[in-house]
Amino acid sequence: MKRIHFTNVFLTTFLLILGLSAFAQRPLNGVVKDAEGLTLPGANVVVTGTLTGVTSDLDGKFFIELPAGSNEIEVSFVGYVTKKLNVEGKNFIEVVLLPEALQLQEMVVTALGIKRESKALGYSVQQVDGEALSNTSRISPISGLMGQVAGLQIGESGSGAGGSQKILIRGANSLTGSNDPLFVVDGVPIDNSGGSSGGLFGGFDYGNAANNINADDIESVTVLKGGAASALYGARGQNGVIMITTKSGSRKEGIGITYQTMFSFQDPLIKPDFQTNFSQGSGGKFGKLNPRSWGEKMQGQSVVNFLGQEQILNTVTENPYDAFFRTAISQDHSVTLDKKGETNGILFSASWNQNDGIIRTNEFDKKSFNIRYDSKLAKFLTLDARVNYINQKAENRPNLAGSPDNSIYLLTLMPPSVSLNQLENYRTVSGLPVVWNSEYVVNADGTISLNQPSPSFASSPLLQNPYWATNLNTNSDIRNRMMGFTSLSLDLKELFKLGFDLRLTTKAGLDYYNDERNRITAQKTYYKAEGLATGSFSRFQVMEGNYDFLLSGNKQWSKFFLSVSAGGNIMQRQYRGLSSSSESGLINEFGPYVIQNYLNPIVTTGLTNIEIQSLYSMVSMDYRRMVYLDLTFRNDWTSVLSPESWSYQYPSISASWLLDETFELPEYFNLFKVRASYAGVGSGGSIAGQRYFQYGTNANQFHGLPYGFFNSDRPEPNLRSEYTISKEAGIQLVMFGSRLNLDFAIYQTGTKNQIFSNPLTPSSGFNSGFINSGFVNNSGVEIAASYILVQKPDLKWSVGGNFTRQWSEVKELSEDIDQIVQGGVAGMRIVARFGQPAGIILGTAFARDEQGRILLDSESLPRLKTAETGAILDDNIIGNATPDFLWGFNSQVNYKQFFMSFNIDSKLGHDIFSVTNMVGAEYGTFAFTEEGREDWYRAVKLAQDANDPNIRPQDFNLGFMVKGVKDGVEGEYAVDPQKYWDRASRIHEAFIYDASYIRFRQFSFGYNINSKLLKKTPLREASLSLFANNLFYIMLNTKNISPESSFGTSNNLGFEMYAYPELRTIGVNLKLSL
């Protein structure tokens, strides 16, 4: 460490003279230890400002004579923070040296797998230890990053075992396309598509592909946030990069064997509060065929129910969620063996994960095998290779969103007077569905027969027996995936005996997966037209190859360091699919659900190719390790754009300056870095074949005749590449003996010329078409801080937090479009509008007067906001889906053998629209619809008893009290709650909730078994921990749903539709190492 001590020479000379002049000396004894209490032999002890110095002996002890007037010593040791101590009046001193904080020496893996010193970087990088993930989130390692990284936003989709997450780094750049960061495993980009397809008519969440990785294989995860960090990954890195480094063989003595196991239980954290007092029916009268729950109060009366049975109506005591769902159980086992030899290292791991979801038929099973081998083949040649095989199987993933098989939808609609055990026998003798709005008789033997002419299939509303939905309308998927790479690194310096470092690395990476997805709706399913069975059986394979080379050289002059790299990459991605489906029912109704037993099977094939070729170079330099400068330049050629635009270039520049190395700063600064970066990232988009207008054919569509078809999206041959610009500036401080770590960043990112499929006006002939448009400006402030509160041999207590304030504004839209619809459901939409924040929620709203008071119509019901023409306006701004603040807080305590940590995460300042609540209100199944019911029915009775046509129920001022202005008079007016909620359920604004929350996200507590105890066993290390995820909400403003519910994992934040409940996980983790 060289510093510019301008005054050093002078000062030293001065002190020397001073020292010589003082002959009186006094002795000082001491011992040097580390934080663990172990003595440090060979530590340097110098009297400050003198040449007097000694080193500690083998026991860490030292003896030094202090010149008179000298009261300060400096103790230093390689790898530890140098300490200055005042020894005035002391004869003995114990010096505890703290290791130089990780952040100081920390090597982080940056773009292209280049390890860099964290402090050299001119952009924000945050690294998370793999251990932290494998302890708490072994099933979906990605979800373990939640709340750990500033600016990283993870939304859980709550969609069953093996489901996916929505990941955003520094907000959404793309308005409608993917905002997913790129996942790179050991330098090889992997395909993370597949996530959720929770569309309006249902769908399944097939999980992020990145979650296929075994959590125990992860050494560390680095989140590259700024554009400069990811510029070298090109197009796919424009939303940031999540780099996963897997473990390699490191055990030097014997064989390292580690066994880890985990058991956990999951339960819904938030369940709707159902109403329990009013039966199926309408207008306060019981109706066994009525789909709604506006019937009479249940107080012990007897009725004949839909099964033709006498039933006593009573207040319901059990939440149907408790009866229908089970506690999910998952277990996970993994074994890792590793060995590091003289010239090579090997690691093998195998893991098995099994998860039974809360839906009784939902199961998930994943096996993963991984081999990593590295070898120094020659002095100048190193080989590194890894193969990972994953086999994953899921049964009955939950049907999402608007699917009539969605259990949440079915439970939301189910009247309190119907109990789940009345539906458990879900099939009649003749194989028809048992649904609670048709008539049946229960036979003597307990079987059920239909007691009406015929069921009306596909009748509105699409009700369905939840047991039929989960037992007969099944889905399954199997994935076989191979990921791997081989890398050869040639040390040209060694080979050619050069005077500078020069290395050539070549790498071939392959990610291949083969998916089989089957989905069946059984014959006679209630909501299917004519009750015809449907089936879809698809197979597809995705293969992505990445082939790169990188030539890098560097040279250190006395004060100047230069590193130059140049490389190239060819990325080839191929999708091949074959699917057969039918909506026409079975040939043999009693036969199996296989494609040959379906009428009118339709077979389609898919084949797309994408290739991106890239050349890039990077220059890094530093001056006296004080000022660092990185420059990158990249050129991509992509096959998805036209020849005029398929080549595009982009640069990045980043710089950092270590003030602590430059100036004489107060002692308590261990690191003081300022940094700034600017980066551009180009992208050609990822839609193959979109620029061609094409005709296709479908066989056998009408009386055996074929149909022709053409593109459903309007092709646009002249698309240009997208360009993401990110700017960042920041300060990093490490202070007080590295106990405080503070990182502050301001950033601005945005993508211009975004390529997306935008809604088109129907008279263009297309509902959507690809265009270049849109520029969202995301800016924000990120603060990440950690502090070691206590650092003692037996006790270490640290706290950390991160905070992000983000602003997002739509700065540009092309002239062709007025707004971009990002998502929506039931008439409500999430859109980007010029000059507005991204993600505003549009929908129908209450009509209000100038004072903001709600206007009521002649029936005292709230009016909908309309245009002057009388048309209902459905594009009122009623909320915003983008959070303003994200923050997280975490703390770790290690006391002797015990360790404990917790983590709080929070998002603030955004809204969510809830279809579940809207429908629960309309159907009268949620508790909030009980308000005013009894009063209203009493008023109806009073009006009847009055026997006067002029006396109406509303005259008694009993019922649901609506506040508003009616005929110019403000007041509270009594209405029938059924009518109120019927009206309100058409006003989106009534179901917008503040989605701000603070959640106790994660807790773990564990014990490392004392090494003394283990000495008698072959075990080297053993630990047992208890963990919990999503324990409770500290702050919650949504009703009946989780604020984190989402519709899918693409651009669909801000609204939910029958979202599966967020799950609370409690589990135990055991780790044994030999």
């Binding site: 207008g283 050069l498 130059v564 140049a566 339709i602 296709g696 459903s712 088109l760």
Partner: protein
């Protein structure tokens, strides 16, 4: 040394990479589709989707709009989509989208490509047939909404709206031109669409008949406009109205495919009747009963007591919610069984309707011929269409309350046309809008401020939002965008 290596590496890399982009275009070109196609398979799709047979559009075009506005049916279903019987105003998104753009349906867009491709293969017969079909499609849409993008639709991202007047005049011209083309080239040996033409199996004479019947439909609809006497009526004189649909066999109709792969090709009425969402309107019931019309037993299925009863239109949703299963479903009449069979033809333009149009045209002096005999021919054709072939019974009917009365001729002709159109609610509504016959009954409950029968469907949100400038121009030309804005042929601009 370093320079040499770097230079060499860079040179190799550049050579390798620049050489590689050669196959990019081939790589990106779709492999499962093609750049051109014979128009036949596109035409089949255009006819089937454009016939409106899919229950997906049938409900929106008829059941929950035309059929309850024109009081063929009364609504007995609850939900936000079922309030048109109470005249609740709304933007009509689905129908517009269906005809223009809906992926894999969009009959007008498909037909646009059929015309384009048949031009490319220089087949005047295929082109003329597709252009006649286009007239049918466009009229369906403009009669619902009024102005619409026509001349530049499918050519631009934001096409301008054209006035209904301009559209109508052009459609009539299209019929004239393409009938002439067919007559000129029909025997030249150009391949027709053959079986892919699911309307007429390639019979070009029938296409000429269809075009001429369609001409009558358009001309009469425009008959109250100033342009009619100025330009349309004179042009009508050149049309040979002997070549119109003249038998059940030349009805423009398609037969549903009961074993088809999707519900979009099956009989929509069988779904609707199974869902019990409508009952026969009291208006329809009363008219049939007053005429002692045997079609009552065809149009309506008896209630649970084996009796016939018509339900008042516009019951409030709260009443439907309470009484649907207990009272409305059992005591009123569902759609008659004739209409819910797997193979019941889906009729677009019938022989019977053609006769009633001729009766009106003759009575009003637009064409030559005797109104009464056209009227009688129409009643007979309608009876025959529904399997009532007993000549004596028809004769009785024509001499009963339905006997042609020259002093009430138009009312009778309109009423009979309205009856014969059943269950085509959309055309019935157009007829009632233009003629005021038969007289509609006031619904039991209507949304405040919406007491009278809607005159059009408000434009879809998508055009208002994504094509604002052109939308606004159309709205200001039409004088508004609500359900009471009058169309050009209904006295508007």
């Amino acid at each position: 040394m370093k320079k040499t290596i770097l230079f060499t590496a860079a040179t190799i890399a550049i050579l390798v990479f620049s050489g590689c982009t050669k196959n990019f275009e081939e790589l990106d070109r779709p492999k499962t589709t093609s750049e051109t196609i014979d128009p036949n398979a596109l035409f089949t799709r255009s006819i089937v989707t454009g016939s409106g047979i899919s229950v997906g559009v049938w409900q929106w075009m008829h059941q929950i709009s035309g059929s309850v506005y024109a009081q063929h049916f009364s609504n007995i279903q609850v939900g936000a989509n079922f309030t048109s019987d109470n005249y609740e105003p709304k933007a009509w998104n689905l129908v517009w989208d269906w005809y223009y753009a809906r992926s894999n349906f969009a009959p007008m867009h498909y037909n646009y490509h059929v015309i384009k491709l048949s031009k490319e293969i220089e087949n005047p017969v295929k082109e003329a047939v597709a252009r006649i079909w286009n007239v049918f499609l466009v009229q369906q849409v403009t009669d619902m909404y009024g102005d619409m993008p026509y001349f530049n639709a499918f050519k631009e991202i934001k096409p301008a709206f054209d006035s209904q007047k301009d559209i109508y005049l052009h459609l009539l011209e299209e019929l004239e031109v393409n009938v002439a083309t067919l007559k000129q080239f029909k025997d030249f040996g150009y391949p027709s669409y053959g079986q892919a033409d699911v309307l007429y199996s390639g019979n070009l004479n029938n296409w000429i008949r269809f075009a001429n019947s369609l001409y009558l439909r358009l001309a009469l609809r425009a008959s109250n406009t100033p342009e009619f006497s100025a330009s349309i009526q004179p042009r009508m004189q050149s049309i040979d109205f002997s070549e119109t649909i003249n038998a059940q066999s030349s009805n423009a109709q398609i037969i549903p495919d009961p074993t088809g792969p999707t519900f979009h090709v099956k009989n929509p009425l069988s779904f609707v009747s199974g869902w019990h969402e409508v009952r026969i309107s009291k208006t329809m019931f009363d008219i049939l009963q007053n005429l002692n019309d045997p079609r009552l037993q065809i149009y309506a299925a008896p209630n649970v007591n084996g009796e016939y009863a018509g339900l008042e239109n516009g019951l409030p949703q709260s009443q439907i919610s309470e009484q649907r299963d207990s009272h409305l479903k059992p005591n009123y009449c569902n759609i008659g069984t004739y209409f819910v069979q797997d193979n019941t033809p889906h009729v677009l333009l019938s022989y019977a309707e053609t006769c009633f149009m001729k009766a009106e045209a003759a009575h009003r002096g637009f064409i030559s011929g005797n109104a009464e005999s056209f009227y009688n021919e129409g009643v007979t054709a309608s009876f025959n269409q529904f399997g009532l072939a007993d000549a004596a019974a028809i004769n009785d009917y024509l001499n009963g309350n339905a006997k042609f009365n020259p002093s009430k001729a138009l009312e009778q002709i309109y009423t009979q046309r309205w009856l014969a159109l059943y269950p085509n609610g959309h055309e019935a509504w157009s007829l009632v809008r233009r003629t005021g016959y038969p007289q509609m009954n006031a619904p039991v409950y209507t949304f405040p401020g919406n007491e009278s029968m809607p005159r059009r469907k408000p434009f879809p949100d998508a055009e208002r939002q994504s094509n604002a400038e052109n939308y606004n121009a159309a709205v200001s030309r039409m004088g508004g965008d609500n359900q009471y804005t009058r169309l050009w042929w209904d006295g508007g601009n």
